[in-house]
Symmetry: D2
Subunit: 408 residues, 4 copies
C-alpha cells in the first residue's frame, strides 16, 4: 500500500536534512534521487508545508548574519561584503543544488519552482524560497547552454506531441494541423536544455510567405504548398510563441529565441527581406470596457455586444482605439498590453492593425478579432530598443501614425 502523503512529507524532510549533511558520493547520489522522487508524490497542500519547512529550517543563520554585519560595519571591504553575502545565503540553495544532480533532478527542480510560484502567490512569505529556486534555475538555464533546434516532421513524436499540448496562442488541432505547421513553407524552432533533451522550453512557429500576412486563419489553414510552383517567400511571419515551462516563469527566453531564429532564417532561407509577427492584442476589449477607449458609448455597447453587423465607421473607430491602446495606454511607463510590451521592448516596430485578423472565438473575445503586425527590422532593432528602454518611446509606422492623428 502506498504511504500517506503526510508521512511522505516527513520522510522527505528527513531526506533533505541528511542530504545537506552527507558528503560521500555513495549516499549523496541515492539521497538526492530519493528526495526528487518523494517530492513528486506530495499533494499541493503538503508542497506548501514543504516550502514552509524550507523557509524555516533551511534559512540562513541569524547569528552568522549578525556577526558578518559587525565585520562589515568595522571594515566595508569587498571581502567582508562577500562574507556578508555568504552569511545571508540560505542553505536551501545547497539542497537544491544537490537535488539537481539526481536522475530527473532538473525536471524536478523546474516542477518545484512552478509549484512554489503558485504557493507564494497565496502565501507571499514563501517568496524567499521561490527566489532562491529562481536564481539557481536562471544560472542552470544560462542562455549559453540552450540549444536551438529546428523542429520538423523528422522530429521524434515524443517532442511533437508536446507542441500540441503546450501551444498557447493558436491551438494545434491534432496531428494533421501540426503537420501542416511543419511543411516546407513553415518553420518551427525551440530552445532545449541538455538536461531535458525531450522538453521544449519555448518554441516559435514561423510562416514563410509572399508579402505580409494579416489573417491567422489564412496562415494556419493555408493549403499545403506545391514546391514546384510556389513563389519564393520574402517574408517570415512569427505567428505564435509559446513558453512551455511554468518553472521558467520570469526567466526571459523569448527575445533571445526571436534573435536566434531571425539569424538562422537569414542564413538558411534565401530571399527573406521582412520579419514580422502576427500578434494578438490580448487586453484590448478589457481596456475598452474599463475606459471606453475614446469610443462613443453606443460604439462601446456595440463592440461589447459583439454585434455582427458593423459599418465602416465603427470599424474605423475600433481600429483607431486599438492604435491608441497600443501606443498610449500604459502601466507606469510600460505599454499596458503584454504582447506589445514584449515586442516593442525587443525593438520591433508597430506596423499595422488587421481587421478580422483572428476570427476564432478567442480572437473575437479578446480583441474583437484584431491582430497586429510588429515588424522586426534587423537594422533598427538596437536603436528602437534603446529608445524604448531609455525614453519609453514606441516606434510605429506611418499607417499607425495616420490612425493616431485622429485620436488627438
Amino acid at each position: 500500500m502506498r504511504r500517506s502523503s503526510r508521512s511522505e512529507l516527513a520522510v522527505l524532510k528527513e531526506t533533505c536534512r541528511a542530504l545537506v549533511r552527507v558528503r560521500g558520493e555513495e549516499s549523496a547520489a541515492s539521497l538526492s534521487s530519493l528526495a526528487a522522487r518523494r517530492y513528486g508524490l506530495l499533494t499541493a497542500t503538503d508542497k506548501a508545508m514543504f516550502f514552509r519547512f524550507l523557509l524555516a529550517d533551511f534559512g540562513p543563520s541569524d547569528s552568522d548574519i549578525v556577526e558578518a554585519i559587525a565585520a562589515y560595519q568595522a571594515d566595508a571591504s569587498p571581502s567582508n561584503a562577500q562574507a556578508l553575502e555568504m552569511a545571508a545565503t540560505a542553505p536551501r540553495q545547497q539542497l537544491f543544488t544537490a537535488m539537481n544532480t539526481a536522475e530527473g533532478g532538473t525536471a524536478c527542480m523546474l516542477a518545484m519552482r512552478a509549484d512554489c510560484v503558485t504557493a507564494s502567490r497565496l502565501e507571499p512569505t514563501l517568496r524567499p524560497v521561490e527566489r532562491d529556486l529562481a536564481r539557481l534555475i536562471e544560472a542552470w538555464f544560462n542562455r549559453g547552454f540552450l540549444d536551438l533546434q529546428h523542429i520538423d516532421w523528422d522530429t521524434p513524436a515524443a517532442i511533437l506531441e508536446k507542441l500540441i499540448a503546450y501551444e498557447a496562442v493558436h491551438e494545434i488541432r491534432g496531428w494533421d494541423d501540426l503537420r501542416r505547421r511543419l511543411e516546407s513553407d513553415r518553420r518551427c524552432f525551440g530552445f532545449f536544455h541538455p538536461a531535458l533533451p525531450a522538453e521544449p522550453l519555448i518554441f516559435v512557429e514561423v510562416a514563410l510567405t509572399v508579402g505580409l500576412q494579416t489573417s491567422i486563419q489564412a496562415v494556419i489553414d493555408a493549403p499545403r504548398p506545391d514546391d514546384s510552383t510556389s513563389d519564393k517567400p520574402d517574408t517570415a511571419i512569427f505567428y505564435s510563441i509559446t513558453n512551455c515551462q511554468a518553472g521558467l516563469a520570469g526567466i526571459p527566453l523569448g527575445s533571445f529565441l526571436l534573435k536566434q531564429v531571425t539569424d538562422e532564417l537569414l542564413r538558411s532561407v534565401e530571399g527573406l527581406t521582412r520579419f514580422s509577427t502576427l500578434s494578438p492584442v490580448p487586453g484590448l476589449l478589457r481596456w475598452i470596457t474599463e475606459t471606453g477607449g475614446g469610443l462613443a458609448p453606443e460604439a462601446v455597447a456595440s463592440v461589447l455586444a459583439n454585434n455582427a453587423e458593423i459599418d465602416d465607421e465603427l470599424r474605423q473607430a475600433v481600429t483607431t482605439a486599438c492604435a491608441d491602446y497600443l501606443v498610449n495606454a500604459k502601466r507606469g511607463a510600460q505599454p499596458l498590453d503584454a504582447v506589445a510590451r514584449f515586442h516593442l521592448r525587443n525593438g520591433a516596430r508597430l506596423e499595422q492593425i488587421n481587421w478580422r485578423g483572428d476570427t476564432s472565438h478567442k480572437g473575437i473575445d479578446e480583441s474583437y478579432g484584431l491582430l497586429v503586425n510588429y515588424v522586426y527590422d534587423p537594422s533598427d532593432l538596437a536603436d528602437n530598443h534603446e529608445a524604448f528602454v531609455n525614453e519609453h518611446r514606441v516606434t510605429y509606422s506611418s499607417t499607425i501614425a495616420g490612425l493616431l492623428t485622429s485620436v488627438d
Copy 2:
C-alpha cells in the same frame, strides 16, 4: 597592426560597462562576444588589472548594503535576509553571466577563473572576484549536467590528443602508448559538459586485469591482449585520474567520476569483483626528509641517496614508514598525503603497499618507487566514508595493520 594590450584593456572595460547596462538581445549578443574575445587578448599583467577593475567597479553598492542591514536589524525576516544577500551580491556576477552566453563563453569563463586563481594567489585582495567566478562555475557545472563518456579508439582525435596533453599522473608517451591504454582490456572514461563537447573535464584510466596489480609499469607496458585466449578479468584497476581544467580547481569531480565509472563497469563488464586504485604516494619522501619517518638515520640517508642496493631490512623499514605516513601523518584531522586524503574520504580501504610499484624517475623521486592499492568495496564505501568524515578513522587491511603493529 594589432592594438596594444593596454588599449585592449580599456576597450574591454568599456564593453563590460555596456554589457551590464544594455538589455536588447541585438546588442547584448555582440557585446558579450566582444568581451570574451578581448579578454583572450590580454597579457597576464593586464588580466590582473582587469580583476582589480572588477573588484573596484563591479562590487556591490555600500549604500544598498547599509540600507539592507538597517532593514534586517529592524526585522530579521527571511525576506530581509534575502534582500541583504542581494544587496551584498556583486554586479560582476551579472557580467559573468552575460559573458557566459557568448559563443565560446564557457571556455572563456573557465580560463578567467584559472587566471584569477593565479592572480589572487599573488594578490589575495582579488579573492572576492575569484570566489564569484567559482560560485557561478559551480552552478554551471552542476554534476547533473555532466556527461560520462566512454573514451576509446573510436573517439575523435581532437579529444584523444587532449588526453595526451593533460595526463598528469603517468605520462602518455605518444599515440602508440595512448592506443595501448584504449585496447579491449582497458577502459577510459571522462566527464564532459554540453557547452564544451570537445574538452574532457576529468578522466580516469582503468585496467581490467586478473588479480590485483602492483606495478604501474606492468600495467602500462603490458602486451596487447589476445582476446581469444585472455582470461576473463576480475579486477578493475584505476591507475590514473587527471583533472584537466585549472578553471575547475576546488570543484570536486573525482569522487563522483569514480562512483559513476564503478557503476558503469559493474553494468557492462561481467565478472568484476574487485575495484582498486594503483596510486602514488606523492608526499612520502618529503615527509621522511622532514620527520625521519621513524627510520634510523642511516636508513634515511640511504633512502635519500636513492642507493640502488637495498637489503630486505631497509625495504621492510621503508614500507612500514609508508604505512605509518598514510595512516598516522596528519594535517589537522586529515591525512597529510593528498592522494590518501582523496581515496580515504571516498570510503576506500588502504589495502597494500607495493615495493617498486613505479620505477620511473618521478616514482622514485616522490616515493622511493612505492605505489599503493586503495580498494573500493561498494558495500563498505558509505560506512568507511562516514567513519572517516565523522571520526577521522582510516580503514585499512590486515596487511597494513600488520605493518603498523611494528610502528608502535
Copy 3:
C-alpha cells in the same frame, strides 16, 4: 505548361540511351538524375511502353549469344560458361545500375520494380525486365546491409506516419492507437536500408504479455500499462507483420526479421520464455465455401450466413475444420494458407486455435473470427524447418493433435 507524358517518354528513352553510352562522371550524374525524375512523371500506360522499350532495345545481342554458344559447345570450360552468361545478360542491368546512383535512385528503382510487377502480370512477355530488376534489387538489399531499428515514440514522425499508412494486418486507427502500440509493454521493429533511411521495408509489432494471448482486440485495446504495478512479461506476441514495399515483392525479409527480433528481445527483455504469433487464417472461409471443410451442409450454411448465435457443437466443428485446413489443405506440397506457409516454413509450431480471436469485420469475414498462435521455440526452429522443407511435415501441439483425431 507541363510536357505531355508521351513526350516525357520519348525524352526518357533518349536519356537511357545516352546513359549507357556515356562514361564521364559529369554527364553520368546528371543523366541518371534526369532519367529517375522523368520516370516518375510517366503514366501507367507509358510505363508499360517504357518496359517494352527496355525489353526490345536493352536486351542482349543475339549475335553475341550465338557466338558464345559456339565457344561453349567447342569447350564447356568455366570460363566459356561465364562468357555465355555475360553474353546473355541484358544491358538494361547496366542501365538500372546507373539509375540507382542518382539522388533518390534507389526509391525510383523500387517504384519501377513495383510498376513492372504489375505490368508483367497483364503482359507476361515483360517478365524478363521485371526479373532483371528483381535480381539487382535483391543484391542491393542483401540482408547484410539491412538495419534493424527499434521504433518507438522517440522515432521521427515522418517514419511513424508510414506505419499508420502501411499497416496491413490490424489497421492503426490514428496517432493514439499508434502510441498505444509503442508503450513500454509493446515493441516495434523494422528493417531499413541505408539508402532509404526514412522508409521502413518491413515491420513487426510485438506485445510483451503475461501468458499467451488469444484475442487481437484484447492486445490492441489493452489499457496503458502502469509500469510500477505491472507483472513482468514472460511472452512475446508477434501480432502483426507488414511488408511495406511493393518493389521488394518476392524478396523474403519476414523470416529474417523474426529471427533478428527474437534475438534482440532475448537480449534486452529479461524473463521472456515464450515467443508466439497471434495470426489470421486468411483463407479459411474461402476454403470452407469451396470444399465444405468436412462440415455438415447446415453448418456451412450457418457459418457463411455468419449467424450470430452459435452453439458449442458448431464452434467445435469450425475449430476442427480450421485445424484440418491448416495442417492438411495443400497446394502442391505446401500449406494452402499463406500465413501458415510462412510460419511453418520458419520452423514455428502450430499451437492453438482461438475462437473469437478477431471480432473485427475483416476477421469475421476471413476466418469467422478465428486466430491462431504459432509458437517460435528457438530450440526447435531448425529441426522443424528441416522437417517442413524436406518432408513437408507440419509440427503442431497436442491440442491441435486432439482436434485432428476427430477429423480422421
Copy 4:
C-alpha cells in the same frame, strides 16, 4: 589447440555446401558466420585450394546450360535468353550472397576478392571465380550507396590511423604529419560503405591555396595556417588520391570521388576558382630508359645517373620529354602513363609540368622529380571527356603546346 589449416579447409567446404542447401534463418545465419570466420583462418595455399573448389563444385550445371541453349536455339526470345543467362550463372554467386549476410560478411567478401585477384594472377583458370566476386561486389558497392565523408581532426582515431596506413602517394609520417593535413586550410574526403563504417574505401587529400601549387614538399610541409591573417584561398589542389581496398580493384571510384568533392568544395568554400591536381608521373623514367624519350644519349645517361648538377638545357629537354610522354606515348589508344590516363579520361586538362615538384627519393626515382598539374575545369570536363573517349584527344594548355612544338 588450433585446428590445422587443412582441416579448416575441409570444414569450410562442408559449411559452404550446407549454406546453399539450407534455407531456415536459424541455420543460415550461423552457417554464414561460420563460413566467414573459417575463411579468415586459411593460409594462402588453402585459399587457392578453396577457389579451385568453388570453380569445380560451385559452377553452373552443364546439362542445364545445354538444355537452355536448345531452348534458345529453338526460340531466341528475351525470356529464353534470360533463362540461358540463369543456367550459365554459377551457384557460387548464391554462396557469396549468403556469406555477405554474416556479421563481418562484407569485409570477408572484400578480402576474398583481394585474395582471388592475387590467386588468379598465378592461376588464370580461377578467373571465373574472381569475376563472380567482382560482379557482386560491384552491385553491393553501387555508388548510390557510398557515403562521402569529410575527414578531419574530429574523426575517430580508428579511421585516421587507416589513412596513415593506406596513404599510397605521399607517405604520412605519423600523427603530426596527418594533423597538418587536416588543418583549416586542408580538406580530406573519403567514400565509406554503410556495411563498413570504419573503413575508408578511397580518399583524397586537398590543399586550399592561393594560386597553383607546383611542389608537393611545399604543400605537405607548409607551416600551420594563422586563420586570422591568411589570404582567402582561390585554388583547390588535389595532391593525393588513395584506393584503400584491394578487394575493390577495377571498380572505379576515383572519378566519382573527384566529382563529388569538387561539388562539395564549390558549395562549402567561397571563392574557389580553380581545381587542379599535383600529380606524379610514375612511368617517366622507365619510358626514357626504354625509348630514350627523344633525348640525346648523354642526356639520358645524365638523367639515369641522377646527376645532381643539371644545366638549363637538360632541364628544358627533360621537361619537353615529359610533355611528349604524357601527350604522345600510348598503349593502344590510351596514354601510357596510368595517372595521365585517369585524369585525362575524367576530362581534366594537362596544364603544367613542374621541375623539382617532388624531391623525395620516390619522386626522383620515378620521374626525376617532375610533378604535373591536371586542371579540372567544371565547364570543360564533359567536352574534354567526350573528346578523349571518342577521339582519343588529349586536352592541354598553351604552355604544354609550347613545349610540344619543339618535339615535332
